[in-house]
Symmetry: C2
Amino acid sequence: MPRRPTLEFWFEFASTYSYLSAMRIEALADAAGVSLRWRPFLLGPVFAAQGWTSSPFNLYPAKGRHMWRDLAREAARLGLPPVVRPDSFPQNSLAATRVAVHGAEEPWIGAYVRAVYAAEFARGESIAEPAAISAILNGLGLDGPALIRAATQEPVKNRLRSIGEEAKSRGLFGAPSFLTEDGELFWGNDRLEQALEWSVGERPAGMRRQN
Amino acid sequence: MPRRPTLEFWFEFASTYSYLSAMRIEALADAAGVSLRWRPFLLGPVFAAQGWTSSPFNLYPAKGRHMWRDLAREAARLGLPPVVRPDSFPQNSLAATRVAVHGAEEPWIGAYVRAVYAAEFARGESIAEPAAISAILNGLGLDGPALIRAATQEPVKNRLRSIGEEAKSRGLFGAPSFLTEDGELFWGNDRLEQALEWSVGERPAGMRRQN
């Protein structure tokens, strides 16, 4: 059997368009014969390096109004439940992200990521408190308190910091982002399908001519 | 015959993703049974109101690097010629836009818009000087110098200013943007097909449930 190509999925739990990708990517990658590498990261430091102190959807209200409407349309188009907007946006995603970094290679990572996003954007719940994340983990049959403890240890904090440096050094500027094995960067939920196609060697018609 | 719905296409000549839409929209609208209203406008004042002094693709270099690569991929995917990046970006689009405002209802508007964009992004030429626009008009069998003269009269300048106010008051924050008759706003070349579908009454599965 030929080796399956790997696609890195860089996502931020506070990001609405990461949500749209996170709910679909595992099934789509499986269907495409692509191995998925879950890459949780924090957008805050990336945005701060761009001079932003909040989400661009808050800094630029017209852009934000369109985003929420577009999110509702896209969720409907993709067969996801109606979006329920959380009271606070963007939410503090540190606790959720630490657990995802800790468990990124575990078999439960996909189910965990989807459960966090569903709480946040399909039910409009807060995901900011460790207790909320712990409850989500318990709901998956995992040991929430133990995982929260493990995820707040120094090695995970260090890993999260180095992931942030890696994100910047590899040219990431937003989420979701997809990175192929040959270094091709795709940004945005609208590029998920193309990133998978690229991973298995498909190129847009005319692309070979161009490169 | 039933009345054809109208879709407004708001575009900025300096905008790379407006280019991707402009080259396709007339044919796609015809096929969908949608009347097209060409809405040339200047993004500069819209961006200035958001505190930007240049294109976000220049202000945020990582975003800009991805954009040029994505543009190459998208052009290839859409069957457009390889993108040739103009020496200067974004280009001063005032002369081109004034002519488009002057001729927005003329039968040659589509051919004119495509000719300007092809010069700019398929051949990498400057479109900043009135002489370049005049030559493009001449190439379409029109009277370039006369149209340039007409487009620099006070009424066109006033119309361009009021279009800028309209853009802001209707929630536009970037280009391309698509506005349907019932006021639905779609932003970005990735939403062109959906805007056309919305125009003819198609809704994403589950959208009726949501609204």
